[in-house]
């Protein structure tokens, strides 16, 4: 089984590479570095929320976090307000952001566990509340991040964007946790069949709680970095990450039925989602064409991935 096309994650990378090549075809190769750099920068935010969403989706059917955009906005808003553009407060801001994420994750899980709400509805409803909190906390005013933090978020190290390093590091951690750790096995077991996992001695509620907290903390981190990167938090800053977080997970080859995750696919899909829009924009496609083609490509990737999977079985 060394056929690389048998891996479900390969397709998102193939698609990303194609989009990259097609874009550069327009300029006969000029700007490759720039484009790759931009893809890594912006892909990082999608990858970070995507990794969190992936863990949740792995928990099985019906598990998804729709509060990611609101959590990003809320934590970024609170963090930037706490920092108030003062130098040397970056760490304080990070703590505030992650704290907000932790709170949101716990609240989401409390709704799911205590009130037995389906996660889709619970996180959707909770996200409206978080949005209100964000509005209330500073009425949508954009506060600039401290300069040092902004420099870090937009800076690079060894030629790669710093945010991409953060995203890569998280991906590696998540990969190790899923592939090698006890908790990862527990998560995968819970995702296949919660009742079975419980009867096999898996602490399923601990797994679920920690997963919902993790996704919210990842969203908070992503929000914090995004706000630092783009010069401040805005009330609508997370909006596009709702569909994005789900899309990168499923395009990346994670099973929507639960119990099977795919870390490399998330990064591939995150790069793809950025590159495909860049490609279509570069070719001058209008919003209509862009949407139709994006949709068609997503479906094509899913079909390709599933056909190969069946061929192997």
């Amino acid at each position: 089984m060394t056929n690389p096309f048998a891996k479900p994650w390969i397709w998102s990378w193939v698609a990303a590479a194609l989009a990259f090549a097609l874009t550069l075809g327009l300029t006969s190769g000029r700007g490759a570095g720039e484009l790759a750099y931009a893809a890594l920068s912006f892909g990082a935010f999608a990858a970070i929320v995507g990794l969190g969403q992936m863990l949740v989706i792995t928990l099985g059917p019906g598990n998804v976090d729709l509060s990611i955009p609101a959590t990003m906005t809320l934590s970024a808003t609170l963090a930037l307000k706490a920092m108030g553009s003062d130098e040397g407060t970056a760490l304080l801001g990070l703590v505030v952001a992650l704290g907000a994420g932790l709170g949101a994750g716990l609240a989401n899980y409390a709704l799911i566990f205590l009130l037995r709400l389906p996660p889709i509805i619970a996180t959707l409803a909770a996200s409206l509340v978080y949005q209100s909190f964000a509005i209330w906390s500073n009425r949508g005013l954009r506060i600039k991040p401290p300069e040092g933090l902004a420099d870090f978020a937009t800076g690079r190290f060894l030629g790669l964007p710093n945010v991409a390093w953060v995203g890569l590091a998280l991906a590696i951690v998540v990969w190790v946790v899923l592939e090698r750790s006890v908790w990862g096995r527990w998560l995968l077991a819970t995702g296949q069949q919660m009742r079975v996992a419980r009867l096999a001695g898996v602490p399923v509620e601990l797994v679920r709680a920690s997963t919902y907290v993790t996704v919210a903390v990842f969203a908070a981190l992503s929000g914090y970095l995004l706000a630092s990167f783009s010069g401040g938090a805005a009330l609508n800053m997370g909006t596009e990450y709702l569909l994005m977080s789900i899309a990168v997970v499923v395009i990346g080859g994670t099973s929507i039925a639960g119990g099977y995750s795919n870390v490399p696919g998330v990064w591939g899909a995150a790069l793809f989602m950025f590159l495909v829009v860049s490609m279509l924009n570069s070719y001058g496609a209008g919003a209509g064409v862009r949407n139709v083609l994006t949709g068609a490509i997503i479906i094509a990737i899913v079909i390709a991935a599933s056909t190969k999977k069946r061929g192997r079985a």
């Binding site: 750790s181 096995r185 077991a189 001695g201 509620e205």
Partner: protein, 474 residues
Amino acid sequence: MTDHESAPIVALTEAAKHFGPVRALDGVSLSVAPGDCIGLVGHNGAGKSTLVNLVNGGLAPSSGEIRFDTGGTALGAGVRSVFQELSLCPNLTVAENLRISHSALKGPGWRRPARAEIRQSLDTVFPDHGIDPDAEVDTLSIAERQMVEIAIGFAPRGTEARLVILDEPTSSLDAGIAEQLLAHVRRFCAGGGAVIFISHMLGEIFDVATRIVVLKDGKVVAERPADGFTRQGLVDAMGHVTAEEGETSETARSFGAEIVRSPEGLSAREGEVVGLSGLAGHGQAAALARLYLSRTSSWHARKAPEVVFVAGDRTRDGILPLWSILRNVSISILQQGARWGLVDRAAEEATAAEWKKRIGIRTDDVTNPILSLSGGNQQKVLFARALASSAPVIIMDDPMRGVDVGTKQDVYAMIRAEAARGRTFLWYSTETEEVCQCDRVFVFRNHEISAELTGADITEERILEASFEMQEAS
């Protein structure tokens, strides 16, 4: 007796089915004529379910031929199947489930005849079943579901049933209900119907079968009229080296301190094998599940668990379907040997390899997917999962469902050996024979313990008595 002169309903010639390298069925010839009741036996993974699926058209043969007397499909020939895995739609009512397999029920007002038909069929096969045709299936107990499935199998459904295939139909039925089914099968065959009856309970086979077919590793190794076999002969034909019998009359063992006591009165001591009995669906499984859930937490897991669970309803309670055999075995013992939260993969592999050997899981590689195993071998994986842990208490919820005779003997021996080393077993079984091997038995009736039997009191009569008492009184 069988009328071999009449044309067979279905005839297989050299039928074979391969799953990749696995030869699940390896050239089987068999014909079933009206009035036949064929008892199909064989070890776990012998190919029985595969044979059934070829006959009913669920699988296409890799080679060979399957011919029906009507010349058409299995459905057209009046072939009905009751599958090893429950296969009703749990969200529909009993009557609606009949509708699924009875496409002639059409038009407005189909519900009334559907209700009448399924009630009629249930009444015929299982008198006093007490099942409401308007009940949703997922509100029924597993035994009731099995009864409904059997009743649907025998229901007229427009065309009469001519050949009914029953794949381990009694595995979740208690003795009384199973006896009703056997009686019905005999009536059905006497009336000119044909049945293929698969079971690991040889008593049942001898009870109903007119002819017995023994499968071994995908081949028919013996086929004779039922009276041509003795029990031992049958076991030998199946080719399993059975453990020595006769350990039943062992001297009274001494037990340790009490280690389990539940609010409803279940108790067990160290080293004791405690049986739970009574009619199916009277709260035994629920009591065990409650006990397990109260002794474990969904919030934290201990390195060495206090109790482990062996599920009988595999798909609902036991199998992690996406995983390999290896990961299915190791899930309960991951924390042993884990460092910094990381799984010790070498130890994990060693454990799986050891248990594959000890309990005889029929596979060439433990990294194969669990779903490539036959039903009984999946069950062995669940045993391995529990026994591999160091838990002092093992809870078993009718764990022998679908396990073949030979393996059962091995597992009994293993249970006794573990008990001798001080582990405690709480064992619910629908087979009185198994319960009778226990050191102490609790009989359940209406979700309460109606009797606690020990020592010489543990007899089939006493258990039956305690199971029914209330019903006679009322």
